[in-house]
């Protein structure tokens, strides 16, 4: 099932990993996940501390799980029951670390050639040449990592990992700190490289922007477990977990209790945090009296300065602006409606509507902008 010289490889990475970790000064951490990574980019998304890097370390063979099974295609790399535990050297899994871990004393070219030790010189030189070109860093071959700029270092780290023709690529937040344009350019080159080879690529990130930019398939993780799998829209637009909702950029996370179920309409009414304020949200698994948590994006809330009528939106809530602060190109307003809502506005809106602290306003929320999340 190995790739030979870039032949088509349709092998999937499958991993089920259990690992109990007791770290000094922190609560014991349990990693218990099962996942499948098909060829192409799969994003592993979750807040920091979710266990993403530990999982990658297990797959690469750097950390030994307590139990589980890891296989690339038909080839078993780890199986606690069968007593199989292949060394990282023989797994042929490429791994780009968050710090990149380029060898600081070797030139870019020597870094890239590092994994080709067993090959005859001409062959290794040709492979290095090809990959340096594919990642557009052939001009930097003689430079050492400390003399190379961010973005180009990432390209060299990718080239170093991929030149060995691995059967799986693990990327641990490799593009952190780069601007969106640079990220997109590097990801394009990675996609181009992988178009012919089709190996599974597991891309770890904790930022939503990267999920949106890369997204084919997302696996969301938290507290050492997989909490959902699907397309970015499925996983992130309707997050079912509080920490995931926070990580995915839901500024409003409001507690409340169910006061009415309207199964026929597919909605239910939720009273927010013992206030008078009630909103209509999509029907969830709940009965009257249940405590629930609702996530709403600050950008999904409309704001009006007079009471709106004849709207399709079911939630119109009266309130008062209590604070406004500029945040880059938007203004973040806090509106007191019995509970506080965060609303994002443009500076233009603030000027035209003459918004200021103490202003009486109405918030408009579509039912389906309100997402129920679990703790």
């Amino acid at each position: 099932m190995d790739t030979v010289g870039g032949e088509l490889n349709v092998d999937m990475l499958t991993a089920s990993v259990q690992l109990q970790r007791t770290r000094a000064g922190s609560t014991p951490f349990l990693l218990d996940v099962s996942l499948q990574v098909p060829p192409g980019i799969t994003i592993l998304f979750g807040p920091s501390g979710a266990g993403k890097s530990t999982l990658l370390d297990c797959i690469a063979g750097l950390v030994r799980p307590d139990a589980g099974r890891i296989a690339a295609g038909q080839e078993v790399l780890f199986d606690s029951q069968a007593g199989v535990n292949r060394s990282p050297q023989t797994r042929r899994i490429a791994y780009v670390f968050q710090t990149l871990a380029l060898f600081p004393h070797l030139s870019a070219e020597e870094n890239v050639a590092y994994g080709l030790d067993g090959l005859p010189h001409e062959q290794s030189a040709a492979r290095v040449e090809e990959i340096l070109k594919a990642f557009r860093v052939e001009k930097l071959r003689a430079r050492k990592p400390p003399e190379i700029s961010g973005g180009e270092r990432q390209r060299i780290a990718l080239a170093r990992s991929l030149v060995t023709q691995p059967r799986v690529l693990l990327l641990d937040e490799p593009l952190t700190g780069l601007d969106a344009e640079l990220k997109a350019a590097i990801v394009d080159d990675l996609r181009a490289w992988n178009a012919a080879r089709r190996i599974p690529i597991l891309y770890v990130t904790h930022t939503r922007e990267e999920v949106d930019a890369l997204g084919e398939r997302v696996i969301a993780m938290d507290h050492g477990r997989v909490i959902s799998t699907g397309t970015p829209v499925e996983v992130l637009e309707a997050p079912r977990h509080k920490r995931l909702a926070q990580a995915a950029g839901f500024e409003n996370l409001l507690g409340g209790s169910v006061v009415d179920l309207r199964e026929a309409d597919g909605v239910m009414r939720v009273r927010l945090n013992e206030s008078r304020c009630e909103i209509e949200v999509p029907l969830g698994y709940a009965v009257v009296g249940d405590r629930v948590r609702v996530a709403i994006r600050a950008g999904d809330i409309l704001l009006a300065t007079s009471q709106p009528h004849d709207l399709s939106a079911r939630n119109v809530i009266e309130g008062k602006i209590v604070a406004m602060e500029p945040r880059g190109t938007l203004v973040r307003a806090r509106v007191d409606c019995g509970v506080d809502f965060i609303v994002h506005l443009t500076p233009g809106t603030v000027r035209t509507l003459e918004l200021a602290d103490g202003r009486h306003v109405w918030l408009v929320l579509k039912t389906h902008s309100c997402h129920l999340v679990e703790e």
Binding site: G61, Q89, H105, G115
Partner: protein
Amino acid sequence: MDALLLSLRLALCVSAILLAGGLPLAYWLAYSNWRGKFLLEAVVALPLVLPPTVLGFYVLVAMGPRGPLGKFWQSLFGHGLAFTFEGLVLASVLYSLPFAVQPLIASFESVDRRLLDASAVLGASPLRTFWRVILPLSIPGVVTAVVLSFAHTMGEFGVVLMVGGNLAGVTRTVSIDIYDHVQSLEYAEANRMAIVLLAISFAVLSVVYAVNRQVGRQIGRRLWTPWAAN
């Protein structure tokens, strides 16, 4: 001058042996997960705190005709180990062990673990990782180890006196020679020797700091020195 040449010969032998033996020992101490490791660490560091006479005393007893080392040596070479150059080398190796091993451990430990992980996933064996990654990034530590064990051996007194005695051309090192001159009130001779030793020590430390600067600038790492540890 015999004494000076003898000291130089001794220091060269000792630093060569310590480099060869110190690399694997320091590697093991830096990377092993063995629970009892602290015991060996303590043994290696012992000469730092032990009075040289105590160390010298036990080495002498071990080397004596009834000691295990002495008997072993006798059976191999037909003569004892105490009061010989070989015995002096052995005692000095033990005495300077921490000066070689500790800088090596410190520089091995300061190599980013992710570099070792990267090397492993790229298929390199632990030995290859050592030669291609750990050692090149630990050059300042290696230089310090060699230079310190050399300088420390050049200047030792108590251990030499206990183990080697004072045999001209065999075990009479520079510091013993200086002591003898002072005992006989030959201050001019003592001064001549002392100033040579002072010059050598100064030169040696200058080399350490110069290398620290040069190499440190190249690989972005600082040199380990015992007085700047931790």
